[in-house]
Amino acid sequence: MTKVLNLLDPLLILSAALMGLTLYLIFVWVPTELNQGAVQRILYFHVPVAWGSMLGIFVVSGSSFMYLWKKNEKWDRLAVASAEVGVVFGGLMLLTGMIWARPVWAVWWTGEAKLTTALILFFIYVAYLMFRAYFPPGAQRMRLAAIIGLIGAIDTPIIYFAANLWADAHPPIIAGPAADAESTLGSDLGMVLLASTLTFTFIFIYLVQTRYKIRKSEDDLIELKRASTAAVMTGAN
């Protein structure tokens, strides 16, 4: 078994270097935002982790589709690795959002559309992982998990468009095809957000890659256990 947590992994080094640069940009370089003051800097963590959680479900659904099509177990491994990292990013998205909401909206949580759909995404991840944990291993588990992964992806566009579809307390979309031109960040703030998003994307890829290798080892272990049981049975006969 190869060592999966390799500190000299180029992707880990790249992520760490970019994180150092991003922290410098967030805390030293970027000017304080006019309306919210220092607390606005939460944006540079909140939006990238939200992006990571959506990227996660996108990879889960893409891999699930590929598994249903090709029946290759590597796609199933990628889906479960992405779901596990996605639930970490999803949890962080909710926590950072709540902490940001408290000083800005004076509440920890409100039942508005964007927050509710984001919470649903988190539950989809949890449901996917719970299903995998409790259903017996095998082709049927992979097939059903792939279907859950595909259905879960429906929530992603709803989260993205929620702020525009149901005008509520959450700020409108600031990036992507549906971004509101008037709400677009200034160049300095936008550049830092872009750098932070890039950094978290690398962290996401590194974590998924690491988790994928462990999943591969778990599958190897199952195979070894089967071989061991077969050897014991042969010996008994």
Partner: protein, 178 residues
């Protein structure tokens, strides 16, 4: 063949990393110099000047040493000012010059401190003095970053422990199978 491919991939990653760092540093260097052009002054509003329509034309601020500075305005001058109840008003000189005058007079009457960022005597932004809220906000900011890193480290530790257990079990089974 595999070795050649691995070296090429590692080399490509190193080049990509070097390019990203170089690009980022050049962007930072360019922007830091431009961001530092503006100056900042905090103090109490001591004078508000308006035209015949009640639109703000100039205002004066007295800093902690008692020195009074007068600021000109442009249509792009931005405001982020709170009333006594804490409701924040956000606008700019081009859109609401008379409201800006009213707000600054309110600040003058209450002796509420403001922070002005300016360039060549023209105010770029006029906001509540940041020190007033900085401490309260920093707690939330710290909480976000602490929780994010704690969760990431917890996840990496979980992955690491899972790897150790797997390694142990695989080694045990491999020994058993000979």
């Amino acid at each position: 063949m595999t070795v050649t491919r691995t070296i090429t991939r590692a080399g490509a990653l190193r080049i990509a990393f070097a390019m990203i760092v170089a690009l980022s540093l050049s962007i930072v260097q360019t922007n830091v110099s431009s961001a530092q052009d503006a100056s900042v002054l905090s103090g109490i509003v001591v004078g508000v000047e308006t035209d015949e329509n009640g639109n703000l034309t100039r205002f004066a601020v007295s800093d902690s040493s008692g020195e009074v500075t007068t600021f000109e305005l442009s249509a792009d001058t931005q405001y982020g000012l709170e009333n006594q109840a804490g409701d924040r008003w956000v606008s700019n000189q081009g859109d609401e010059p008379s409201e800006a005058a009213r707000r600054l007079r309110d600040h003058r009457e209450r002796f509420a401190p403001i922070t002005v960022s300016f360039e060549n005597g023209t105010a770029l932004s006029v906001v509540e003095r940041e020190e007033g809220k900085l401490e309260a906000n920093l707690g939330y900011l710290f909480a976000v970053f602490a929780i994010t890193w704690a969760l990431f480290f917890a996840y990496v530790l979980y992955v690491g422990s899972k790897q150790r257990v797997l390694q142990h079990e695989i080694a045990k089974l491999q020994d058993k199978l000979g």
